[in-house]
Symmetry: C2
Subunit: 340 residues, 2 copies
DNA sequence: CTGAAAGCGCTTACAG
DNA sequence: CTGAAAGCGCTTACAG
């Protein structure tokens, strides 16, 4: 069943049939009625490939998450992002093509797709600080938006949560709780998120006149195991608090602290980042910085669709605020004296 | 840059250029050389829509996960499935289109897509026992494969883990540990997985001559909160063990047990199902049934691709074995006497 | 408001 | 092994 046949059955030309299917207002009520009836009757659905070829648009957007296998397994952050992008797309009548791409060969495939006209635009999620895919996209003409900001390049559209301010707030909260030897477990420093959260940590300390001690900084690679090991490295330096750059690493830190017999928050206060479902269920429940992932995903697709449909518009730089969620791991219930 | 131009630059016809691009063996080495060189030089990528229209195949498969928002957030199972399907597709030069579809309106959209020729085949993940999408697919001609078996319909191709045997093994393990009042927290009973895991539980008890007491069965809806509440309902009936139909509910059960001051496994042994990353990190680490999700995802795409490329082949019914993973929550370290 | 026609960029019998 | 040609099923100026 194709347009031709629908047109014939409706007693109009293919052009007119096409117009009613695409909601073109320049159609008589009568013709519209007839075509719609036949479409319903025949259960007609236009062929996507033909449409894509003729119109130059496919009504699908690509979502690429350049994250290794491991991260996706354990970090709900990615799941939430995928879910929110998927549902926002569906709500706007777009479909989403997904690539979870770490290895180089998979990425090469994506480079191809991007040039094949298979998608109308792309959303690139948690990228490294200088992602080759972003470079390629920049050189091409496909609309795209990055999740995570690109301070280095003013031409990149992005939507992001404000990691620097978030981390800053996390550490300020610990300072407010009276902690003075505040350690941090960092994410990978080739990652924008990893870098920003460390910067926020340093800013907060400096602002308070406290030194930034390298002994109190350990890399946790955004993984639970990494958080565990990092905490073990930090412990000998007697921190009284730790800011973990994500919830997962905080889980590892909690485990390391527990294993040495210390208590959270009495001996060591912990603040994390992301506010994934893990945080609320940790023992003790984690004080953490809420990252508006759902909103980020929604805005990314809405912005991208606007870029696709109204190509002339100005650059998008959307920075969403984070929020401190106070639970039990920071000792907010125990003391209220200010160190700063 | 299109095929026409590539052909011209290579000094061959469009047909020949197309042949080398599609690896047709019937091309002279000379022509092949020339075209390949030009393709590389011009960085040519064939237009996907045109290809799809002409060839009738798009080289993309659809993955639909009819799961609510909540489940995807908290259950790593879905993430792992998405990841494994995605990587298997990429490895076979297919792309994946993703739908995470709960609400009916989103599903209607999928019905359209399926008929639009946008995908060559579909994988339908954790479905309800009588999914309307599956019914529609059955009526159409698009190759598809279900994750989860369809005992009710012999024409449905599927790949699945053997939930009945898995649950059976879980409960037998508890019996072996000397437990006799074994409760279960079930998944939704409109879910194949939920039903099967309950069946496995009942089989194991009956096989052992033990009664199936309705007081020892509580629904947990596959969620953490549901598991918590279910465990609270079970506790007054003094179970000495509980089989939770997934890891997440086991986490909730653990929390409920802890809240009443009872110990795991001394007072109540716990066995879960799925072996998601959560299980190993629980307190205490959960004994659970490993579900080979990664393998399921891989096999689903490999089978689907075979169905797409060699349409005549026989039905596929692939049932993968599960495996009991013994950790600390079942008391295997405490006693070894057999009750049965 | 409508239709005839060109065109989107490929693949694939077909004939040689 | 190769090319001319038909065709995949739409959209969209264009002219009326």
């Amino acid at each position: 069943m194709n347009l031709e046949q629908i047109a014939k059955l409706s007693g109009v030309s293919r052009s007119t049939a096409s117009r009613v299917i695409n909601n073109d207002p320049n159609v008589s009520d009568n013709a519209r009625e007839n075509v719609k009836r036949i479409v319903r009757l025949m259960n007609y659905v236009p062929n996507a490939a033909a449409r894509g070829l003729a119109a130059g648009r496919t009504q699908v957007i690509g979502l690429v998450i350049p994250t290794g296998v491991s991260a996706l397994f354990s970090d709900p952050y990615c799941s939430i992002l995928i879910q929110s992008v998927s549902s926002a797309c569906n709500a706007h009548n777009y479909s989403v093509m997904l690539w979870i791409a770490q290895p180089e060969y998979e990425r090469r495939q994506i480079h191809q797709i991007v040039r094949s006209g298979a998608i109308d635009g792309a959303i690139i999620a948690p990228t490294l600080a200088n992602d080759t895919l972003v470079q390629a996209l920049l050189a091409g003409s496909l609309p795209f938006i990055v999740i995570g900001h690109y301070p280095a390049n003013g031409r990149v559209n992005y939507v992001d949560a404000d990691d620097i301010l978030g981390a800053h707030e996390a550490v300020r909260h610990l300072l407010r709780m009276g902690r003075t030897r505040i350690a941090t477990i960092t994410g990978p420093q080739n990652t924008i998120t990893g870098i920003d959260r460390l910067m926020g940590y340093m800013h907060a300390l400096r602002e308070c006149g406290l030194p930034v001690e390298s002994d109190l900084i350990a890399a946790g690679g955004f993984s639970e195991g990494g958080g565990y090991i990092a905490m073990q490295q930090l412990l000998p330096h007697r921190p009284d608090a730790v800011f973990a750059a994500n919830d997962i690493m905080a889980m590892g830190a909690l485990r390391a602290i527990r294993d040495t017999g210390l208590r959270v928050p009495q001996d060591i206060a912990v603040v994390a980042f992301d506010d994934t479902p893990l945080a609320a269920r940790a023992e003790p429940p984690l004080t953490t910085i809420h990252r508006p992932t759902h909103q980020v995903g929604n805005l990314a697709v809405e912005t991208l669709i606007e870029m696709i449909e109204y190509p002339k518009s100005s650059p998008y730089r959307i920075m969403l605020p984070t929020e401190l969620i106070i639970r039990s791991s920071c000792g907010a219930a125990f003391k209220e004296k200010l160190a700063c």
